[in-house]
Each structure stands twice: as structure tokens, then as C-alpha cells.
């Protein structure tokens, strides 16, 4: 019985693969019509096409961009996007943000992988060290700067990053990648995709890597090795021509090391601890989309994620449930979308003397809904989008987030857009936390205290954009923004008090409070130029200027948050297609100085040379950070939450990719 199954499946795979193997275009005309009916069309993603018509600042990084930048991690890929700040803190930690507020736990981004939110509800930030997948399976990364474009979520204040992985039918057959080098010591991945009958596709994958430590300030190895093996699957199934089901799951277990400075009540009062953080977890995600008719469709998505992280300062285990449903229909000139969602987190904390959650176990969540109408006018030349998200959160109750956007086609090759949106960020579980972050010898502790009076942080964003395609080979995308922030959370000094345990000491409390206001403005530019058939140039520039002010009576430096991000950054990428299936890519990134963190401006150059000796195999050699043997991209500070920064070394790796 089992044997029949095997041979049957084998037969199906052979039959579906053989007849169309290696046909040239012209020979399509020579095929029989029955053969033609077996051939697959390259489908241009509907969504991707829409992006050029979006009234928001959107950039898309393709699989090809990621490969040609030599990026092995999602953060490395994000360096290419204008307005996105990416700084290594140590070998496995990054500070990543959009339009300001950078830090290890920067918290104004919504990050999604295949529509599943991956920021931790603990501090509304992202543990980038566990956000990974097989990099070859990423189809594209969509980055929306500003609050635009997001229908969902409470966290999309300054931007949304959405990682989209390939449909399982796009990853049929096998792929082995392996490589190694100086810092990226060893990495490898195996993926295999099969067709399950006529209308379902499956891929299984596994990957592993080991990064060696960066260097500390005196040139010795830092304590920041990183290794997280993971495995997963994705199943795409079309039960009918109108329904699409996606099921994916992944699990990982590994470690990410860090050196972290901790206060203590006994001499020497501050210790730097080498901590190997153990991380493990996994998720499952199910999505069902159905077309009721050409102009009427809906989808529903469910995900469950468990993650566990053991650090010297905190042990945590989180269970996250999320369900959302969305319905879309077109009526006349209206394009109507509405949806509902519910997000629930259950956590369990193991406190330390530094970080104390109270209560240690908690359940909290939010439900949200939205409605949006895209109205086209002037024969489809203009589109007006009106809508609002609504949110009900366990911490702050009800919030509304309306937006209005307009998009206008000046001509087939030129578009203008503008948008005004209000967005809020609700307080996270962080408001239940006390951090003893500094000890003033002999017995005074500076501590950030829990607060139950916090309100949402609010922002109104004004954005304008211009896109143009002056010729087939040139495209320009420009955005200007003004963000008006209200009630940002900051710390104000409270009344000192005495604590008898664990040793008698005085506490100087800092109280979290919505007392920071301010604004930022800036511009982003992206130019893509196909200079020759074989030469493509991409230039990106970002500028931003932030000013934050404390409400009267508070003193802690407001410049702290404003100065953690560079004013200016730009990059130029050059992609050569050379003869004999060789490509050569040069990527140059400039990041302006981080004024508050004493980090000077830095220049980074990555090079990649790749050769495809046969169609199924690619060999590549990558040099990262060519110009400098040691670059500090961030500094040890409150913004790194006490994690000791280490320097990005000059490094080299080679890689082989083999499809079979």
C-alpha cells in the first residue's frame, strides 16, 4: 500500500516536471495545445503591482536584491531601504528603526513575516536575533515608512516591514546552500519542494549557521557568538479555483551571546556579565483566502507562536495567539475593505535582581477593526482613500487611528500622492516592569518604576510623495514627511525612598510618563537606473531631523531619543552582469553620526562576485565591511540597554547554491 503511494507520487512529479523541462520561448509555438495547457505562467504578484500606486512611502526589496547585496540576515537586507536605520550592536543584535528613535528595543515598527506580526508584545520591539528564515525563500521585503499602508496593528507608528516568503509552488525541487568564512564561520541550508497532486505544494527546509564573535574596543574577541538552527515547512493548497490555503510552521532552538553591564549592591557595583542567552520557539500560521467573485474576496488568518528566552536579566516565555479576518469588495468606483482582529499574549517571567515584572504571569491583548474605502475619480486617474483603524487595548482602552490619502496619476509615468494619518502606540507590558539600571556607590539605586497611569503615544503624520519613470530605464521615488509626536513616554524623577532588601539601599525612582512632545521632518529618495542591459545602479538617500521637548518641569535629556539616529544616510549599489554568467556587485552604505551616542559617521562597502558554471549551481564570494577592520555602528548606552557593543569586522565568506 505504502509502496504504491510512493510510486504514484513519483509518477505525478515526473509527469508534471518532464514535459516542460527546458523549453525555449519560440518552441511554445511548436508545442501541441495539450502540452501548452500544462505550462505554468509566471504570475506577476497583484500586490506588487499595486505598490507603485500606493499613497504611501513604500520600498520593495526583491529576492535578487537580497542575494546581490550578499545579505545573510533580514537586518542586512534592510540596509538597502531609504529611511531605515540599521546598526549592529553586537554580532547578533541590531538597532533597527525607521525615521528615528533607534535603539536595541526601538519600538515604533510593525514587523510582519507573511502577515504574522513578530514584534514582541513585551516591549513592542523586535528580537532581531530570532527573526530568520531560509534567506533564499524570501520573495520580497516590503517596507512602508511612516504610518501609511498598514491596516493592522497597534505598532505601525514609524513604519511597517513585511517579509513575504515564496509560494511553495515557486520552490519545487531541491536546493542546498552551504558556505563559510571568517565571521560567518559556517552556514548551510537544505530545502525540498514537492507537488502534492494537482493543486497543493509543499516545501520543507532546515538551516543552521554559526557566527563567530565580533571584536571589542581593544581588538579582542567579544562575547557574542550566535547560532540558531531552525526548520520549517510551508504548504500551499488550492482546494478550488477560488480558494487558497496556506499553512506554515517553523521551530528553532539556539543561543545568542551578549556581554551586559549590571548594577550590583556590592563592590565593584557594576559588573559586566558574559551571558549566553538560550532562545527557542516556533510558530504555526494558517491562512485561508476565498474569492466569492471577481470583485469580492476575503481571507482569514490564524497564528500561534511560542517563544522562550533565558537571559541573565530575565527569563521569559510567551504564548501569542492572533486571528484576523478581512473582507474586500469593489462596488462601482469604490474599493471597500474592512476587517477584524484579535491578539492575545500570555507570558511568564522569571525575574532577576535587575528586571522585576509584577505580576510575573499575565494575559493581555487587544482587538482591532478597520474600515477603508478607496474611491477612484476622474476616470481612475485619482484615488482617494479614507479609513480608520480602531483599537481596544487592555492597557489604555479605546483608540482611533484615521487616515486620508490621495493618489493622482499626472501621466502614465508620473504620480503624486499625499497623506495625513493619526496613529497611536499603546503602552506595552513594559509598564509593569521595574529596572534597576544603575548603582551609585555605595548604596543608591537608579530604577525605572512600573506605571499604571500611562496613556498611548500619539502621532500625526503628514506625507507627500512623487514617483516618476522618465524612461524605461529610470525610476525615481521621493517622499517628504512631517511627524508630529504627542505624549511620548519618558522618565521623570520621583521621590526617593528606602528599601531594606536585599541589602539596605536608597532608590532614586524614575517614573514613566507621557511628557515628551516634538516633531521630526525629513525626506527620502530612491533612484533606480538601468544604465546598460548589463548594469544597474540603485541610489538611496534619507534625511531626518528630530526635535523633542519635555513638557514643563521635567529634566531628563530629551535629546537622548532624538540623537540616536543619523540625520543623513545614503547608499549606492551597482550590479554588473558580466559575460559567462558572472555577476559583480558593489554596495556602498553611508551612515551619518549618531550625535547622542558618540558614534562617528561610517562608510561600509560590501562586494560580491558570483558565477553560475551550470544553470543549477551558483558560487559566490562576498566581502563585507571592506574599508575597515573594526567599525562600531552603535555605542554602549541606555539605547543598547546595557548590552556591550562590539565592532563589525572586515569579513569574507564564500557560498555555494545548488538546485537539484
Amino acid at each position: 500500500m505504502q509502496a504504491t503511494h510512493i510510486w504514484l507520487t513519483l509518477g505525478i512529479i515526473m509527469a508534471s516536471v518532464f514535459p516542460v523541462f527546458g523549453q525555449a520561448t519560440a518552441s511554445l509555438m511548436e508545442m501541441s495545445i495539450e502540452e501548452l495547457m500544462q505550462i505554468k505562467i509566471v504570475s506577476v504578484s497583484k500586490r506588487e503591482q499595486k505598490i507603485s500606486d500606493t499613497a504611501a512611502a513604500v520600498s520593495v526589496i526583491t529576492a535578487d536584491d537580497i542575494r546581490r547585496a550578499g545579505a545573510l540576515t533580514i537586518p542586512d537586507a534592510l540596509r538597502m531601504v531609504p529611511g531605515v536605520e540599521v546598526a549592529h550592536i553586537n554580532a547578533n543584535k541590531w538597532a533597527i528603526s525607521i525615521r528615528g528613535f533607534n535603539g536595541l528595543y526601538s519600538n515604533k515598527l510593525l514587523v510582519l513575516i507573511d502577515g504574522r506580526s513578530v514584534y514582541t508584545p513585551l516591549f513592542s520591539g523586535v528580537y532581531w536575533d530570532i527573526q530568520d528564515t531560509m534567506i533564499e525563500d524570501i520573495e520580497r521585503i516590503e517596507v512602508v515608512r511612516g504610518p501609511g499602508g498598514s491596516l493592522w496593528g497597534a505598532n505601525a507608528v514609524n513604519g511597517v516591514i513585511n517579509v513575504v516568503t515564496k509560494h511553495a509552488s515557486e520552490t519545487q525541487g531541491g536546493l542546498i546552500t552551504a558556505g563559510g568564512g571568517s565571521h560567518n564561520r559556517a552556514f548551510g541550508a537544505l530545502r525540498y519542494g514537492v507537488e502534492l497532486g494537482d493543486n497543493a505544494w509543499l516545501r520543507l527546509y532546515g538551516k543552521d549557521f554559526k557566527r563567530t564573535a565580533f571584536k571589542n574596543s581593544v581588538g579582542n574577541a567579544a562575547f557574542d557568538e550566535w547560532r540558531i538552527p531552525r526548520g520549517g515547512m510551508r504548504l500551499d493548497w488550492n482546494p478550488s479555483s477560488k480558494s487558497r490555503v496556506r499553512l506554515s510552521a517553523e521551530a528553532y532552538k539556539g543561543y545568542a551571546e551578549q556581554s551586559i553591564s549590571l548594577p550590583s549592591l556590592i563592590p565593584p557595583y557594576t559588573q559586566v556579565i558574559n551571558d549566553r542567552a538560550r532562545v527557542s520557539g516556533g510558530f504555526m500560521n494558517a491562512n485561508w483566502a476565498h474569492d466569492f467573485s471577481e470583485n469580492n474576496d476575503a481571507h482569514i488568518q490564524f497564528s500561534y507562536e511560542r517563544s522562550s528566552r533565558r537571559e541573565v536579566t530575565l527569563g521569559q516565555q510567551l504564548d501569542i495567539f492572533d486571528i484576523d479576518a478581512e473582507h474586500h469588495m469593489e462596488v462601482d468606483t469604490h474599493n471597500l475593505t474592512w476587517g477584524l482582529g484579535y491578539h492575545l499574549t500570555r507570558d511568564r517571567m522569571d525575574n532577576s535582581l535587575t528586571i522585576i515584572f509584577s505580576p510575573t504571569e499575565h494575559s493581555y491583548g487587544y482587538y482591532s477593526w478597520f474600515v477603508q474605502d478607496e474611491i477612484s475619480f476622474a476616470d481612475g486617474r485619482g484615488v482617494l482613500t479614507l479609513g480608520s483603524k480602531f483599537l481596544h487595548d487592555s492597557y489604555t482602552g479605546f483608540d482611533y487611528q484615521p487616515s486620508g490619502r490621495i493618489h493622482w496619476n499626472l501621466s502614465e509615468r508620473q504620480q503624486l500622492w499625499g497623506a495625513v494619518s493619526r496613529v497611536v502606540q499603546t503602552p506595552s507590558r513594559l509598564t509593569d516592569m521595574r529596572i534597576n539600571f544603575l548603582n551609585i556607590p555605595p548604596a543608591t539605586v537608579l530604577a525605572i518604576m512600573p506605571s499604571d497611569t500611562l496613556d498611548s503615544q500619539k502621532m500625526i503624520a503628514y506625507e507627500v510623495g512623487w514617483r516618476a519613470q522618465p524612461s524605461e530605464s529610470l525610476s525615481l521615488d521621493m517622499t517628504g514627511f512631517y511627524h508630529d509626536y504627542k505624549s511620548l513616554i519618558t522618565n521623570i524623577p520621583g521621590t526617593p525612598f528606602f528599601e531594606p532588601a536585599p541589602r539596605p539601599h536608597l532608590v532614586l525612582p524614575l517614573l514613566q510618563s507621557n511628557q515628551l512632545d516634538g516633531h521630526s521632518f525629513g525626506a527620502e529618495l530612491e533612484v533606480k537606473w538601468q544604465a546598460q542591459d548589463w548594469w544597474r545602479l540603485i541610489g538611496v538617500y534619507g534625511y531626518q531631523n528630530m526635535n523633542l521637548k519635555h513638557a514643563a518641569g521635567t529634566t531628563i535629556a530629551a535629546s537622548a531619543q532624538a540623537g540616536n539616529s543619523p540625520r543623513q544616510s545614503f547608499s549606492i549599489r551597482s550590479q554588473f552582469n558580466l559575460p559567462s554568467d558572472t555577476t559583480f556587485d558593489m554596495n556602498y552604505y553611508y551612515t551619518g553620526k549618531l550625535r547622542n551616542l558618540n558614534v562617528s559617521a561610517n562608510n561600509r562597502v560590501d562586494l560580491r562576485l558570483a558565477w553560475r558554471p551550470v544553470k543549477a549551481m551558483q558560487l559566490s564570494l562576498v566581502v563585507q565591511n571592506l574599508l575597515d577592520s573594526r567599525t562600531f555602528e552603535f555605542s554602549t548606552s541606555a539605547a543598547s540597554s546595557g548590552v556591550q557593543v562590539s565592532a563589525v569586522p572586515r569579513s569574507v565568506y564564500s557560498k555555494i547554491e545548488w538546485e537539484f
Binding site: I6, E34, E170, Y192
Partner: protein
Amino acid sequence: MTLYQLRKQPHNRKRLRSISQLFMLLLLLGVWSPLHASDAFKAEQLKVAFIYHFTQFINWPEDDQTHAKKVFQVCLSGKGHELEAWGNMKGKKVGERSIQTAACSISRCRECDLVFTTSSAAIKALKKRGVLTISEQPGFAAAGGVIELYTVKDRLRFRINVDAAERAGLIISSRLLKLADIVHDGGKPT
């Protein structure tokens, strides 16, 4: 909902199990090379090939005036055609007549033997003897167009309105009809 559906189908689960066994088997035997992912083609090129094949399985009415000409005129009406792909038609023939391809507006499309259109508005104007109308517009065949192309699982399929074909005096071979989804005016299936 989705999960539930999947679990409920023991059929699928069995298949999954056998696939994983196959996977192991392949790993053991090292049978890699024949299993290439299928090459995919650009949609427009595939459509051109389909349309060329249609012309080979259809007889145009003898009394059609245009039939006397040496040229078989293929017209592209509406926006968004990739003319490059249509170059593949060059040098091909329908019977004795050489295929020529041109973009045209609806009013001028009347001189054509075959019209590939991106707009359903063309149907009325082209309800005429000797013109094969083809479109990808959903509902094109039901609305009186002769052939409607559509995709299922990334593969191209076609639907023939036999009433419309009869009105146009087109005789379609049974081989083509067998492969098609047959509809009548108003979209009633046979």
C-alpha cells in the same frame, strides 16, 4: 477553520506521509537530477501560442469577404498588449494565408479575422460573421465573445461560446472543443 479542514481529510495526510517517505527515499538514492522545477513562461507569450493554435483548429466561413485576401489579420484591441510576444506569430500561416498582427481601435477591427481584446465593450461591435473574438475578460464568453482565456493554478485554460462561434460562422474542430470549457450565451454550461 483551515486547519480543521486539512485535518479532516485523511486523504491528504496519507499523501503527506508518502511524500515524506519519498523525500527520504530520494535522499538515500541520490536521485536528484531529473527533478527540475518546471520552467515558467511569460503569460503573454503563452497566450500568443494558444491563439496561434486556435487558428489551426478553426475554419473560417468561405463566404467571408476578407477570405479572398492573402493575409490573415490578427488585431489587438484595447490597452496593455506586449507587442514583443506577438512577434512569435511572424512567418506563421492559417491555411494559405500569412498571419499579420496589428493594434487597432474597435471601429477598425471589423476588417480583422481574429481580434484579441482587453475590453468587453468590443463584443457588440464585433458580433459579425467571420471574426473570432478572444479575450481574457472574465465573463467574455458568456457575454457573447467566442473564446475566453482564463487561468487555473497558473495554467492557461479556455472557454468557448458555441452559440457565438455559430453566429460568426466559425467551425471549430472537435479536438479543440474537447479541451475547452463549453458555454452558451448567458454562461449556461452544456
